[in-house]
């Protein structure tokens, strides 16, 4: 029986890795899978969290039929995996929970003196114990691990006690119960950095926290053995930087600690030493993937801001290639046939070609080449990018028009009217997803990069699978773009349609010729069939090469 799949995204970096993972699901890399996804953060208003939750909600709406159930797993099509969404964030919003000092009630109870002495020993009295936790753990992982564990156990206790239970606590409970039920058949992959705050704090404690939370929920008889569940994670070292905080910014107690990205390399080094040597981590995790970026870290500062962004809605950093690498690590973990059920963690890494100061990545650098899986990534990612340009560029959804409605109309004009019942609202959601994946021009006519454009920008002057022309931001160049010639390697280009035609002609011809095999795609409702039809149209065009 196939393992049950679980993904946990923690902190800002974890959310962006999750974003890449969702896009891998959208391109069809996780055919016929049902994946439970938990977002775990301290900062409920974080911009990256909001962005990925919006993306996942959109994905789920696209998959859903008449009811908002997130649809069903499909085979060999876009949006083929079903995602079940869960979200939990530790609550540091009220004054009584805003700092370590407040939340731990150090001055209360019989052991207050010892508690204070112990806290003062590990946590700096005037800064670490006093800063505002609402924006995360600010690279204070010794505090963060303690508080994240506490947050999860507190939620379990609250659930067991009944009473005022939040929806986030119910989400966490359902997620952990599902892992517990799957037991040895559970594969849990965790996204987060090892150099920052929330992710770095949480990765070491999550398996144990989940196990202990189940112990609380089952009143001491924990059915969740964290050494039996297959946990995997990335050990993602520093790849971005931001403005160094000045003394003025750190003058208040709430901001007495602000993460300083100049320490990220040091944090990474210390974290890697920990992950290499810690016996708990080695026993609980089955695989740990080293992911790093050896070039100069990219600055995330926005030009307009003079303040160091500690979190909140404004922390909406662009995506980076290493996050796609992390998503591919999850793909590897979920598809590994040789995953050991017992024993110590395996540490894995891959490398890419680096020449003339730039990376030139191949698909096999990300997913390996067993069973031609690299070719599958090339085909699927290329197919989805082609669909993005067909809808955004050719059908002008990137310029505010209706791309998928245009494609449906095109099919109707060719007397294929099976998809007439797909509503404009549903087609608008597909357009919106494509804008988040590709690009769009905003109301002021400014170009806004979507996920794949951001990934590409982070890699420059390096290269990955596609030609530069596929990422043009010029209206003139976009209008002349050939949607079947996006690859760097011309062997992957589609055959053009006729003597004077371009590959868009090939696509429309393929689209109108084919008849959809519903059972092969495991599709149920009309929208899924429409998406599968578009998928097959592109795949048929790809096969003409």
């Amino acid at each position: 029986m196939a393992d049950k799949l679980f993904v946990i995204g923690i902190g800002g970096t974890g959310m962006r890795c999750l974003e890449s993972f969702v896009h891998l699901c959208a391109i069809g890399m996780f055919d016929n899978q049902e994946i439970n996804v938990l977002t775990l953060d301290t900062d409920a208003t974080n911009g990256n969290l909001e962005r990925v939750r919006k993306l996942m909600a959109l994905y789920s709406d696209i998959k859903s039929g008449t009811t908002k159930d997130g649809g069903t797993p499909n085979n060999n099509t876009f949006f083929s995996a079903k995602l079940n969404l869960y979200g939990f964030n530790t609550d540091y919003n009220s004054t009584s929970r805003s700092t370590y000092r407040n939340i731990s009630r150090l001055t209360e109870g019989e052991s207050s003196k010892q508690n204070k002495l112990l806290s003062d020993l590990f946590l700096d009295t005037n800064s670490v114990q006093e800063f505002n936790l609402a924006h995360g753990y600010r690279a204070q992982t010794h505090l963060g691990s303690h508080l994240m564990y506490h947050g999860i156990i507190e939620a379990a206790r609250n659930l067991s006690a009944g009473g005022d239970v939040s929806s986030a606590e119910r989400d966490l409970d359902e997620f952990i119960q599902k892992i517990s039920k799957a037991g040895e058949e559970a594969r849990v992959f965790i996204f987060g950095s090892v150099f920052g705050g929330t992710g770095a704090s949480s990765i070491p404690v999550i398996p144990t926290a989940h196990s202990d939370a189940m112990k609380v929920r089952s009143q001491g008889k924990s059915p969740l053995d964290d050494t039996k569940v297959k946990f995997g994670s990335t050990l993602l070292t520093e790849y971005f930087s931001f403005k160094k905080p000045d003394q003025a910014e750190m003058s208040t107690k709430a901001d007495s600690v602000i993460a300083d990205s100049s320490f990220f390399p040091l944090n990474s080094q210390a974290a890697l030493q920990f992950y290499q040597g810690d016996p708990t981590v080695q026993n609980v995790y089955k695989r740990l993937y080293h992911v790093g970026w050896p070039l100069e870290s990219k600055s995330m500062d926005k030009n307009s801001s003079n303040k160091t962004i500690t979190g909140g809605a404004t922390q909406k950093n662009p995506c980076h290639f290493v996050e796609l690498v992390c998503a591919c690590a999850a793909f590897d973990f979920f598809n590994a046939d040789d995953l050991k059920a017992e024993g110590k963690a395996e540490y894995l890494y891959r490398t890419g070609e680096f020449e003339n100061g730039a990376f030139n990545f191949k698909a096999s650098d990300l997913v390996g080449n067993q069973k031609n899986i690299d070719e599958r990534l090339i085909d699927k990612l290329g197919a989805f990018l082609s669909l993005a340009h067909i809808t955004l560029t050719k059908k002008e959804a990137g310029f505010g028009n209706k791309g998928f409605a245009g494609l449906r109309n095109q099919l109707e004009q060719n007397n294929i009217d099976s998809y007439s019942t797909v509503t404009d609202k549903e087609l608008d959601q597909l357009d919106e997803y494509m804008r988040l994946f590709g690009y769009y021009f905003d109301s002021s006519n400014n170009f806004q990069s979507g996920w794949i454009y951001q990934i590409r920008e982070s890699l420059q002057p390096g290269n990955f699978i596609f030609a530069n022309a596929a990422f043009s931001k010029s209206v003139k160049e976009l209008k002349g773009l050939d949607v079947g010639k996006l690859y760097e390697d011309e062997n992957y280009h589609w055959e053009k349609g006729g003597v004077f035609g371009d590959t868009y002609q090939t696509f429309i011809k393929s689209l109108t010729k084919l008849s959809l095999d519903d059972s092969a795609h495991l599709v149920n409702h009309t929208k899924e069939k429409f998406i599968a039809h578009l998928h097959d149209g592109i795949m048929a065009s790809q096969s003409n090469r």
Partner: protein, 107 residues
């Protein structure tokens, strides 16, 4: 050649020209492509031109004089009608049989 054979052949020829031009018209990009209307327009334009062209072919292939010319001219209107009907009928059948192709835009 007998007008009853020649003129329907001319109709079929016109239809082939309509098919060729229709296939040469590219699928347009944009949210509301106009290419299906263009193909339909070509079909009906050639339908309108069909009697004139057929008539001209009939005149050009007419014998110089005598009974043969009289017979030829007598059969010309009927052949012309057959040619036009053949264009319309075969065009309709092709359009319906190949309804998801570019020729499907004719009807």
């Amino acid at each position: 050649m007998n007008n009853y054979i020649l003129l329907p052949v001319v109709g079929v020829g016109m239809l082939l020209i309509a098919a060729l031009i229709s296939n040469m018209i590219k699928f347009e990009a944009g949210a509301n492509p106009k290419d299906p209307k263009k193909r339909k327009g070509i079909f009906w334009l050639l339908f309108l031109l069909n009697p004139g062209v057929t008539y001209a072919v009939g005149i050009l292939t007419s014998p110089a004089s005598g009974i043969a010319k009289t017979k030829h001219m007598e059969s010309l209107p009927i052949g012309l009608v057959i040619g036009v009907v053949v264009y319309l009928l075969v065009g309709f059948v092709i359009s319906k049989v190949m309804k998801t192709s570019k020729l499907g835009h004719w009807f």
